[in-house]
C-alpha cells in the first residue's frame, strides 16, 4: 500500500527540483536571511531581535511561497500533461496519488527549509554574539535563543506543510490562478484567526449572525499564528516541548482534515 505512495513522492521530489522558480525563491530567501544583520542596524538597541525577526520571518514567508507555488502545480501539471492517466492506470489509487504528491512536496519543502535554517543559524552564530555583547541584558537571554530558534524552525515545517496541503487541495478544485489566490487568502486569514474570535465576541457587540459566521470561520480555519513563537524567542522565554507538541498536534489534525477533503474532492473529479 505504501510503495506506490513513496514512488509518486520520489518522482514528485525529483521533478520539483527541476522547477526553476523554486530555486529562485530559495536563493532569494538565502540572500535576505544572509543580509538580515545589515537590517539589524536599523533598530539600534534591538539588533538581535531584528536578526531573529527577519531570519525566522523569511523562513516562514518564503517557505509559504514555495508551498503555495509548488502545491498548486503538483496535480494540475500531471493532469495537463495527461501523465495522471498513466499513473492512475497502474495499481495506484487516487488516494495514494494525492498523498504521494503531497509527501513529495513535503520532502521538497523540508529540504528548502533545512537550507534556509542552516543559512539563518550561520548568520546568527556569527553576528548574534556581537550584538549580545553590546547589550549585557541580551547576553542573559542569548543562551536560551539557540534551542528556541530550533523549535521555531520545527514549527515552521509544520506550518508550511499545512499550507502545502491547502494548496494541493485547492488545485484539485480550482484553476491554477484561483487556487493560488485561495491558498494565499486562507493563509493570511488564518494568520489573523484571533481577529475573528474577537469580532465574534458578543461582549464586543457582535450580532447573533456575526457570532455564528465568524465563530464558525474561527473554528474551521487553521490557526497559522500558533506556529509563530518569535515573541518567546525575542523575550528569551523558554517554550516547553509539551506546548510545541500540542501545536504540532493541532497542525497535524488540520493536515488530516485537509488531505481528507482533497481525497474526497479528487476522487470525484474527472481527469
Amino acid at each position: 500500500m505504501m510503495r506506490p505512495i513513496f514512488r509518486v513522492a520520489r518522482a514528485t521530489f525529483h521533478e520539483a527540483w527541476r522547477r526553476r522558480f523554486l530555486n529562485g525563491i530559495l536563493i532569494f530567501a538565502i540572500l535576505i536571511i544572509g543580509s538580515s544583520w545589515v537590517f539589524a542596524y536599523l533598530q539600534p538597541g534591538a539588533e538581535l531581535q531584528m536578526i531573529i525577526d527577519i531570519g525566522l520571518g523569511s523562513i516562514r514567508f518564503f517557505g509559504m511561497l514555495i508551498a503555495v507555488f509548488l502545491g498548486t502545480r503538483l496535480i494540475p501539471d500531471e493532469i495537463e500533461r495527461r501523465t495522471v492517466h498513466t499513473i492512475l492506470a497502474k495499481p495506484v489509487s487516487r488516494a495514494q496519488f494525492v498523498f504521494g504528491k503531497f509527501l513529495g512536496g513535503v520532502a521538497t519543502i523540508a529540504v528548502n527549509l533545512v537550507v534556509m535554517g542552516i543559512a539563518f543559524y550561520i548568520v546568527f552564530a556569527i553576528k548574534a554574539p556581537q550584538f549580545a555583547a553590546a547589550k549585557p541584558e541580551d547576553a542573559l537571554i542569548f543562551a536560551a535563543m539557540y534551542s528556541n530558534i530550533a523549535k521555531a524552525i520545527v514549527l515552521a515545517f509544520f506550518e508550511v506543510w499545512l499550507v502545502l496541503g491547502i494548496a494541493v487541495v485547492a488545485s484539485t478544485l480550482f484553476s491554477w490562478v484561483l487556487s493560488v489566490i485561495v491558498t494565499f487568502v486562507i493563509y493570511f486569514v488564518g494568520q489573523m484567526a484571533d481577529f475573528f474570535q474577537q469580532l465574534s465576541d458578543p461582549e464586543r457587540g457582535a450580532s447573533k449572525l456575526a457570532q455564528i459566521l465568524l465563530g464558525t470561520l474561527y473554528r474551521v480555519l487553521p490557526h497559522f499564528e500558533i506556529f509563530d513563537i518569535r515573541e518567546a524567542i525575542l523575550q528569551g522565554t523558554y517554550t516547553p516541548w509539551s506546548t510545541l507538541l500540542q501545536i504540532i498536534g493541532q497542525g497535524l489534525a488540520y493536515l488530516v482534515v485537509i488531505l481528507l477533503i482533497g481525497y474526497l474532492v479528487f476522487n470525484e473529479r474527472e481527469v
Binding site: E231, T237, T243, Q250, A253
Partner: protein
C-alpha cells in the same frame, strides 16, 4: 451519495470538532507563556480607524497590513519608525502625524525600547516647549509619563524605561519622590552605576538630606572610588546637614541662620535655597518659604520644583500668581507638594 463520501465528510467534521479542545489548550499555553503577538491586530486596526490624519492611515494600510500578512512585524515597525523621523523633521505640521506613527510603532513592537523613549521625549520635552499654555504643557507631561509607564509595563525586566521614566520625573516634572521610585525600580535589574547616584541627587534636590546621604553611602560602599558620591557626601555634610539636623530638632531659627550663613557666600545656590525653603515651610514661616522658593525659581528657569512650590504657597498666602505646568500636573495627579521632615535620628551622622 456513496457511503465512503458520507463517512469521509463526517470524519472531516468529527476531526474539526475534536481539534477544538486542543485549540483551547494551545491558546491557553500561548497566553500564559507569552507566545502571542504583543498587540493583537484588532487593537492596531482599531487605532488605525481612529486616526484623524490621512497620511497616518496610509502608513497603516501600506506597511502594517503588509507586515500583518507577511509576518514581518519588527521590519514594519522599523520602516514606520524611519517614516516618523522624516515627518518629525519636516516641521510642526507633520509632528502630530509623526507622533501618531510613533504610537503605532510602539504597538507593533512594544519590546523595542527606542520608540517608547523617543515618543515620550517628544511629548514631555519637544511638544512641551512649543506651547506657552501651562495646561497644555501639563497635558504633554502627563502624556510623556503615561507613554513611558506603558513602555515599562511591556518591558518590566529591563532597567532602561524605568530609568527614562525616573529621569522624566527628575528633570521635567521635578517630582523627585516619584523619580526615585522609578530609579530604584531600575536598580533591581542590571544597570549602569550612575543610576545609583541619581537616587542621591533626587533626594538632595527634594530636599531630603539624610536620605541623600544614605544613597551616596550606598554608592560608596559599592565603589569606594566613586568620586561623585564622595564629593556629594562631603558637600552635603559641609553645607546642608547641620541646618537640616537643627530643623529636625525643631530649632528652626538656628537652622535658618545656619543655611543663611552658607547662602551669604553662595546666594544663588539652588540646593541651598531648596533647603532654606523646606526649613521655612516646616517652621510655618510661609511667607519666607514663598520668597525663598520664588527666588530659586526665578534664578533658574529650569527649577520647576521651586516654581511649583512658589505657586502652591502663593495660593495659600493669597498672592496672585500664574500656575505652572508642573504645578498643574501635580494637582491633576493629586500630588502633595508639602515638605515633610519626619523626626529621624541624624545624630549618628
Amino acid at each position: 451519495m456513496k457511503s465512503y463520501k458520507i463517512i469521509g465528510w463526517l470524519a472531516v467534521l468529527a476531526l474539526l470538532v475534536a481539534v477544538q479542545p486542543l485549540d483551547r489548550s494551545v491558546e491557553y499555553d500561548r497566553l500564559v507563556l507569552g507566545l502571542q503577538q504583543p498587540t493583537p491586530w484588532f487593537q492596531i486596526a482599531a487605532r488605525g480607524s481612529a486616526g484623524d490624519t490621512e497620511l497616518a492611515v496610509t502608513g497603516v494600510t501600506g506597511v502594517i497590513v503588509g507586515a500583518a500578512l507577511g509576518g514581518f512585524r519588527e521590519v514594519a515597525a522599523t520602516m514606520l519608525w524611519m517614516k516618523t523621523h522624516e515627518y518629525w523633521h519636516k516641521g510642526e505640521a507633520l509632528q502630530a502625524k509623526a507622533l501618531w506613527l510613533m504610537r503605532l510603532v510602539t504597538l507593533l513592537d512594544p519590546h523595542w525600547l527606542e520608540p517608547w523613549r523617543v515618543t515620550a521625549w517628544h511629548l514631555a520635552y519637544n511638544l512641551y516647549v512649543e506651547t506657552d499654555d501651562p495646561a497644555l504643557r501639563a497635558k504633554y507631561l502627563q502624556m510623556g509619563v503615561d507613554c513611558l509607564k506603558e513602555g515599562v509595563s511591556w518591558n518590566p525586566d529591563r532597567y532602561d524605561l524605568y530609568l527614562e521614566l525616573g529621569w522624566t520625573y527628575f528633570d521635567k516634572v521635578e517630582d523627585f519622590e516619584e523619580a526615585n521610585k522609578w530609579f530604584k525600580a531600575a536598580m533591581l535589574y542590571p544597570h549602569p552605576e550612575y543610576v545609583d547616584r541619581l537616587v542621591g541627587h533626587a533626594y538632595e534636590r527634594m530636599p531630603d538630606i539624610p536620605r541623600s546621604l544614605d544613597a551616596y553611602d550606598y554608592c560608596l560602599k559599592r565603589d569606594p572610588q566613586d568620586h561623585t558620591a564622595k564629593g556629594a557626601t562631603l558637600t552635603i555634610r559641609e553645607r546642608y546637614l547641620i541646618p537640616w539636623y537643627l530643623a529636625e530638632q525643631g530649632k528652626y531659627d538656628e537652622a535658618l541662620a545656619a543655611i543663611n550663613e552658607y547662602l551669604l557666600a553662595k546666594p544663588n545656590s539652588s540646593l541651598g535655597l531648596h533647603v532654606k525653603g523646606a526649613i521655612a515651610e516646616q517652621a510655618g514661616k510661609l511667607r519666607l518659604a514663598y520668597d525663598t522658593w520664588k527666588l530659586a525659581g526665578d534664578i533658574s528657569q529650569l527649577d520647576f520644583l521651586a516654581q511649583s512650590k512658589a505657586v502652591q504657597l502663593a495660593h495659600e498666602l493669597g498672592i496672585e500668581t500664574e500656575d505652572t505646568a508642573q504645578y498643574l500636573y501635580m494637582q491633576k495627579v493629586g500630588k502633595d507638594l508639602k515638605v515633610s521632615m519626619p523626626g529621624r535620628d541624624t545624630m549618628a551622622r
